[in-house]
């Protein structure tokens, strides 16, 4: 098993005729993902790569193809509306890859999508990959293999680094999820941890966090209170200078400066193995399994 996507995932690519959308649509198809439709307003009726029909609207794409997931490669100016549109069309799983979506837009998109009953992953995330089954987003397919580890991360290339190190050590993943590091997004660490806990094939979980905010601390408490499976964590930004991303008000409101040290302590306090280096994740996970 895997979480969020598998062999039954029927995917729409919003922005399929754009530079990034077309490149990654091809990559996903080569991996074996069922890309059933593309959407680009004004280009309905075209066919992508000789087999994928392109529609003007997401609603039309869903009606014609029975798609149950969508991935968005639309530039920032149109990304919020692309997410609203996918939710309006009733797509249950929406992944937004776009980097640079204004945070104020996300304060409106997030509650809207949730009220429609859809799950949103991202924005500004690499998407997710269930090895051997389906890949939605931009995570390179060849760097991980099927296995029994669930991985959830705020980062892109750091995720690649870690799953690749696991692969070299002979380990693989059920699903590898990049939730993105934007201040306001759809799916949280906790959502993924809950899904991994419920997935019978996942036997241990790797959580890769970074400085800023309190998501990792909350996730750590969740692990202690709700999870039986072992969790191993790493926090990037142990040497980052404080206060570069957000001033005092950010620290005041959360009652926390969001430093790496604080997050690693929260991991330790809640029974999560803490890797000092990305490489140490491998040893910790081997011990946990």
């Amino acid at each position: 098993m895997s979480i969020f996507i598998d062999n039954s995932t029927r995917l729409i690519v919003q922005g399929i005729t754009g530079r990034d959308g077309s490149f990654h649509a091809k990559q996903m198809m080569e991996y074996g993902t069922q890309v059933v439709a593309g959407v680009t307003p004004g280009k309905g009726g075209q066919t992508f790569e000789g087999k994928v029909p392109v529609f003007n609207t997401v609603a039309e794409a869903v009606a014609e193809t029975g798609a149950n997931a969508t991935v968005i490669y639309v530039p920032p100016a149109g990304a919020a509306d692309a997410m609203f549109e996918a939710a309006d069309a009733g797509v249950p799983f929406i992944v937004c890859i776009t980097e640079g979506v204004p945070v104020l837009d996300m304060t409106r998109v997030r509650p809207y999508v949730m009220e429609k009953g859809s799950r949103l992953l991202g924005p500004n995330c690499p998407g997710l990959l269930s090895p051997g089954k389906s890949k939605v987003g931009i995570i390179p397919g060849h760097i991980t293999q099927p296995g029994n580890i669930g991985l959830v991360s705020k980062s892109g290339t750091l995720t690649y680094e870690v799953v690749y190190k696991l692969k070299v050590a002979g380990l693989g993943t059920t699903t590898c999820v990049g939730i993105g590091g934007d201040p306001i997004n759809g799916t949280s660490f906790i959502d993924c941890l809950a899904a991994f806990e419920a997935d019978p094939d996942t036997e241990a979980v790797v959580m890769l966090g970074e400085i800023g905010g309190t998501d990792e601390q909350e996730a750590a408490r969740y692990v202690k209170e709700n999870m039986k499976k072992p969790v191993v964590g790493f926090i990037a930004g142990q040497t980052a200078p404080p206060g570069r991303r957000m001033g005092h008000a950010g620290a005041i409101i959360s009652g926390s400066a969001g430093t790496a040290e604080e997050k690693m302590q929260a991991f330790r306090d809640n029974g999560i193995g803490v890797a000092r280096r990305p490489l140490d994740v491998v040893g910790l996970i081997q011990d946990a399994l």
Binding site: P102, V103, L104, T157, Y164, P183, A236
Partner: protein, 381 residues
């Protein structure tokens, strides 16, 4: 993006918030002329993108135009936390009866803008947050319906006992929310919001942080950017679409992706070195980015070694290799380079580099250790 106090105040004035505005001076003579025009005592305030200006001596009271000239002369050119003061705001000095704090911030945990107000305002709001958090009142706003008048009035009643001041403050809060949204801000605060002995409510200092993701659709806000207020290398990096933050160490780092860039810096430290910078060349494959990255890093005289750490997923490592070779051809780079490449088109990249006389490593830990040893001078390249 940060903007200056005087620019933030202009945003408030545009909404009709009462602000004793004053004018900006770049020379002591201008400061004197402004003080003359304003009449009475003035406050001279350094315009730099950092807090703690007052404690650093960047805010001074002047009782006469002559004194304004003198004080402006002391502040202009001053260094505050590494930033040179190029401008001062000369504002009328106000008699203060009380000081409050009002601010709105995009809050991760609430997934919404959240108000914070406190009757205990002034310079020590951060301390209040630590020692007496109950004195700060918080209220999240549902951005789909906006900040509602009764909410503004509710917050105002927590600040002032008198009805007249409550009404004035409620209007100011509604206008500040409008300014926050229209600027695409992630933070907008007035600190202090004062009352005068006559009972008027006024904004004496203001701070806005702008969400960088908003700038593409807000050219008027983008135009407020002041390049002289940032480190030159950071301006260069932004223009080249790179994310760069200067640090104090000597191991220059070029990495793709923010998370891996931070993890690389952490690993440099882990092996006993000090990173010279955070530099994310992003996800796209463009040799030009590598050329620009190398130019920015080598302009830092502290850098003793340059470490590339590239995990090719979307980024093609052969493009990065081409960038390295091009950059080396364009300028003579005096410091040793350690290159770690793995992932997409790795074999081609290694060949490109080998043909140009470079060795590429594939293991991150090995590459970082080597870079740290080179920086310390314990090995030679």
């Amino acid at each position: 993006m940060n903007i200056h106090e005087y620019q933030a105040k202009e945003l408030l004035v545009a909404q009709g918030i009462p602000v004793p505005m004053g004018e900006v001076a770049t020379t002591p003579e201008e400061a004197e002329a402004i003080a003359q025009r304003l009449g009475g005592a003035v406050v001279i305030k350094a315009q730099v993108h950092t807090g703690g200006r007052g404690k650093a001596g960047g805010v001074k009271l002047a009782k006469s135009p002559q004194e304004a000239r003198e004080k402006a002369g002391q502040i202009l050119g001053m260094d505050i936390k590494g930033l040179t003061v190029h401008k001062v705001l000369v504002a009328p000095a106000e008699d203060i009866a009380s000081e409050a704090y009002v601010g709105i911030i995009l809050d991760r945990a609430s997934h919404a803008p959240v108000w914070m107000v406190s009757a205990a305002g002034g310079v020590d709001i951060e301390e209040v947050a630590v020692t007496d958090p109950d004195k700060i009142i918080k209220l999240p706003v549902d951005p789909r319906y906006g900040f509602l008048p009764h909410q503004a009035y509710l917050l105002a009643t927590k600040l002032y006992p008198e009805v007249k001041q409550q009404r004035a403050a409620a209007q100011i809060l509604l206008k500040l929310y409008k300014a926050f949204v229209e600027a695409g801000a992630s933070l907008a605060e007035i600190n202090p919001l004062i009352t005068t002995p006559a009972g008027e409510v006024k904004a004496i200092d203001a701070k806005f942080n702008i969400d960088d993701n908003e700038l593409f659709r807000r050219p008027a806000i983008e135009a407020l950017r002041d390049d002289t207020s940032e480190a030159p290398a950071e301006v260069q990096a932004r223009e080249a679409n790179l994310t760069f933050i200067k640090l104090d160490g000597d191991v220059g780092c070029v990495v793709n992706g923010a998370g891996l860039a931070m993890a690389t810096m952490d690993l440099v430290k882990y092996y006993g070195g000090e990173p010279a910078n955070f530099l994310d060349i992003g996800g796209s494959s463009n040799p030009e980015k590598v050329v620009n990255a190398l130019r920015i890093i080598t302009s830092d005289p502290q850098v003793k070694v340059i470490l590339f750490n590239i995990f090719g997923g979307i980024t093609r490592t052969d493009d990065v290799a081409n960038g390295i070779v091009t950059a080396m051809g364009q300028s003579k780079i005096e410091v040793p380079i350690v290159i770690r490449l793995t992932g997409t088109n790795e074999e081609i990249a290694v060949k490109i580099l080998a043909d140009a006389g470079f060795t590429a490593l594939t293991d991150m830990d090995e590459a970082v250790q080597k870079a740290v040893e080179l920086a310390k001078g314990t090995v030679s390249s």
